[in-house]
Symmetry: C2
């Protein structure tokens, strides 16, 4: 019989593993959900695309590491991120063992530091037209997409992908892009109106139509009074 596992717990000579965070950086632009990828500039797998990632340092937590990696690439500091899941097959990276904890980030394209993004050879791709990716990064994206679809239906996370002021047609296009299906305009607005956490401003965005669409703002306080968010 093996030793009780608790004793192993105290072993100092236990195997250690390289741990990375890989970030799924989502943006929304011109009605499309996009993902930020980098092209590998070195062998192996040179020129293939991958998620933005980096290693976890010894003194930093996972969330910190994810924020650091994102901020190093985009210059963004206060970004909405959540952990998605951890990929840990022994040979997922065939060159060396790396455990990867994935994080999903929702960023506002207008806030990026373009220069920084360019310097890292990062590119945005529409979610429905991604290039081939290294390792298990495709699985990571699927996993993150499933989660994102669930999250936007049950909570107000989608607003992180829109500017402070946005129109209802914009918001609906965002939901359609993420869910991958068309939504009825009247039903969509009916739900939003019922929850009553958006504030209509006396301002219109005329960039998409001659009539112009009213701009709205997400109101945190009013949202806190909402019991069952559902779209």
């Amino acid at each position: 019989m093996q030793k009780p596992f608790q004793i192993n717990r105290a072993y100092k000579e236990v195997q250690q593993i390289t741990v990375a965070v890989d970030c799924l950086i989502f943006g929304f632009n011109e009605g499309k959900l996009e993902l930020l990828l980098v092209r590998r500039g070195f062998e192996p797998e040179r020129d293939r695309f991958s998620l933005i990632g980096g290693f976890v340092h010894n003194e930093e937590g996972l969330d910190e590491a994810a924020h650091r990696v994102l901020s190093e690439l985009t210059g963004l500091e206060d970004v909405y991120m959540e952990q998605v899941r951890t990929f840990g097959k022994a040979n997922r990276d065939p060159y060396e063992r790396v455990l990867s904890v994935t994080y999903s980030a929702l960023v506002l394209k207008e806030n990026y530091n373009d220069e920084l993004v360019n310097s890292y050879k990062a590119e945005w791709f529409p979610i429905d037209n991604l290039p081939e990716l290294i390792f298990d990064h495709k699985d990571m994206i699927e996993s993150a997409m499933r989660r994102l679809r669930r999250r936007i239906k049950t909570g107000p996370v989608g607003f992180n992908l829109l500017p402070e002021k946005f129109t209802l047609p914009q918001l609906q296009k965002l939901y359609e892009a993420i869910l991958g299906e068309e939504i009825d305009k009247r039903n969509f607005r009916k739900k939003l109106h019922a929850m009553d956490f958006l504030i209509r401003l006396e301002e219109k965005d005329k960039s998409e139509s001659k009539k112009g669409a009213f701009l709205y703002r997400f109101d945190e306080d009013k949202y806190n009074g909402v019991k069952n968010f559902s779209i």
Copy 2:
């Protein structure tokens, strides 16, 4: 400006971290949802309770590690497990840095190897009356419970906690124990009947009542024809 992160990717001298899996082993017994915990037999934190865990070996994947840890403790081999989430605050274990990937396991108490469980000083606790736990294990349990509540409403995972043949009153008690709320008997049965993936056997369990309750069996094939599982 820092170096492009991709170059870091190729570094071999990157920090490595000790990685553990911690298993949330759920069982269902006498109408109660229970969790299997072990009492630490060594300092520090001697005599406090913790989840069952173990370190990830270099040549094994996370899922494998979780199954191995579970099987070493309980002798069970084919157990339903899913990854929950990864806890990675730098100081979550104040004695040494350990990253922990949590797994939720649904086991059938009658299948355990009692001797093995006893030899490890493991104990079952009802989920609503847990002892104090080390480190962030309480957070892990909350996280796993949230997930379990969601999963049993949207999929047939609960059956893993019941024997092959079970009664509807048993099944309902299981749902009530996990969800922490009472369910209307008629509405509960109505949903199950509508989905039509349970097979009623010509056999009754009279251990709970004089009248006896019919035994049912979960039918995998019939379940595959169900589009929207919902309880």
